[in-house]
């Protein structure tokens, strides 16, 4: 579900439908409420062979958002430690296959490759950006954490994060829009 708040920021709740994805444009600021599944390099490395062999994944990716992050350990009494995004392009190799299974969003930082951008259009999905390096601030939006798979991977385990109003921005939409390209074009000065 996507609703535009009074402040112009779009409130997203998971799971996401095709229509939800279609209402998001590159550059839109969003707040996510619901579930984010964390997965980064090592977890993707384990999910990928399962997909190739047609086996069941430890998480249901349909309509879901995967957050590329490896949180720092929680202090006693805290829900989670710092939890900012890692670079999305390292997961490019795995992303189109997950989108094909119905994953609707990925959340990270940095450019994605053309194959991922094409897959976002083909399967109606979005790539969202969280502020890299703002891990302490972002931890405040995480209300509950549960490890759902690959606990042996430590910070790289798959975790289910229950989030409320988690702030992000649409980097790549399902129409080929790209915030990085638009942003840089708008502010680049001549003579560079």
């Amino acid at each position: 579900m996507v609703r535009t708040g009074a402040d112009g920021i779009k409130d997203i709740s998971t799971p996401l439908s095709d229509a939800d994805v279609e209402s998001l444009k590159a550059g839109d600021r969003v707040r996510i409420t619901g579930v984010l599944y964390t997965a980064r390099d090592a977890a993707h490395g384990r999910l990928f062979p399962l997909i190739q062999q047609g086996e069941k994944l430890p998480i249901d990716v349909r309509g879901a958002i995967i957050y590329y992050t490896g949180p720092s350990p929680a202090r006693p009494g805290d829900v989670i430690g710092s939890v900012g995004p890692t670079t999305g392009s390292r997961m490019d190799k795995f992303t189109p296959a997950l989108l094909e299974l119905g994953l609707k969003g990925t959340l990270g930082k940095g450019h994605r490759g053309q194959a991922v951008k094409d897959a976002l259009r083909r399967h109606k999905a979005v790539y969202l950006g969280a502020i890299g390096g703002a891990g302490a601030v972002l931890s405040r939006y995480v209300k509950k954490v549960e490890i759902v798979a690959y606990e042996d991977l430590g910070t790289e385990a798959i975790r289910r994060l229950d989030v409320e109003g988690f702030p992000a921005i649409v980097i790549n939409d399902c129409y080929g829009g790209d915030l990085y390209q638009d942003g840089q074009k708008a502010y680049a000065r001549e003579g560079v």
Partner: protein, 280 residues
């Protein structure tokens, strides 16, 4: 000879690791404030404000500014009149890293082998660069180096004919290719001269200079300022959302080089520029 026991070294490293991750240095906080006065982009300003807030929250709660609490890169300037007692210097540093990361609730991000990729669990070992210098003091400089920006660091062997223009073009190319991936606003450490490995080490060491302080060499200072202006005209901006603040600083260190060579190494550092130092 002056004796320094390994326990003093471990204790110092432990404290540096924790504090570096919890508290950004004052030079970084000043850089955020400066950028907020010049940044034209609304999205860019918003990012800078959140990052300031992030620094404050991390310090207050003693949680890491960024969840990637980095690879510990440790430069040691060891006075030649110092005698390290009670064990090996490297072990003492790594013991400090292990304690700091475990007791400080910092993330373990190091794998024991680039091939089997099993996490060591305590963020050891550190990368240690040792210089022996005159005197009876020991200076320990610690950086918690993030992986995302490190992945965009680059090296190029230019020719003497490429000259200063070649260096400028290469540094700007490194800013362009780092782009949004490396978490701008960036700080660039540039090592020019020496050999292949010397330039890379210089590029790391250059990052320890206080941000906003002038390069002691006026020619290099002028080059740094010129590069910084050019980098900030690229339009990449905070987080790559578009804007005027792509880099906070560009720091250059040089070394003599061979008549055939012009090596240039560029370490890309993100705004989570976490470094602390102490002299024992």
């Amino acid at each position: 000879m002056r004796d320094i026991h390994v326990s003093a070294i471990s204790d110092a490293v432990k404290k540096l690791c924790m504090e570096a991750n919890w508290e950004l240095e004052a030079d970084m906080l000043r850089a955020f404030d400066r950028a907020l006065t010049t940044e034209r982009s609304t999205a860019g300003k918003h990012v800078l404000q959140i990052l300031k807030e992030n620094a404050q929250l991390a310090k207050t709660k003693r949680i890491p500014y960024c969840q990637d609490t980095g690879f510990v890169v440790c430069f040691v300037e060891l006075g030649q009149d110092v005698h390290v007692t009670g064990g090996a210097l490297d072990d003492a540093i790594n013991h400090g890293v292990s304690q700091g990361y475990q007791e400080g609730y910092l993330r373990a991000s190091i794998v024991r082998s680039p091939f089997d990729r099993v996490n060591t669990g305590d963020n050891t070992p550190a990368v240690i660069h040792l210089d022996v210098v005159p005197g009876a003091a020991m200076k320990i400089m610690v950086m918690a180096k993030g992986g995302g920006c490190e992945n965009r660091s680059k090296y190029k062997m230019l020719t003497p004919a490429d000259g200063a223009q070649g260096v400028k073009d290469w540094v700007l190319e490194c800013v362009r290719t780092a782009g949004p991936d490396a978490c701008p606003p960036l700080i660039l450490g540039v090592g020019v001269g020496g050999t292949f490995e010397k330039s890379a080490i210089l590029s790391k060491k250059a990052l320890f200079r206080e941000l906003g302080s002038p390069n002691p060499d006026p020619t290099l200072e002028a080059l740094e300022q010129e590069l910084l202006v050019s980098a900030n005209r690229l339009g990449i901006g905070p987080q790559g959302y578009g804007g005027d603040t792509t880099a906070f600083g560009i720091h250059i260190l040089t070394y003599p080089c061979h008549i055939t060579s012009l090596p240039v190494a560029v370490t890309i550092e993100c705004h989570a520029h976490r470094h602390k130092e102490v002299t024992l």
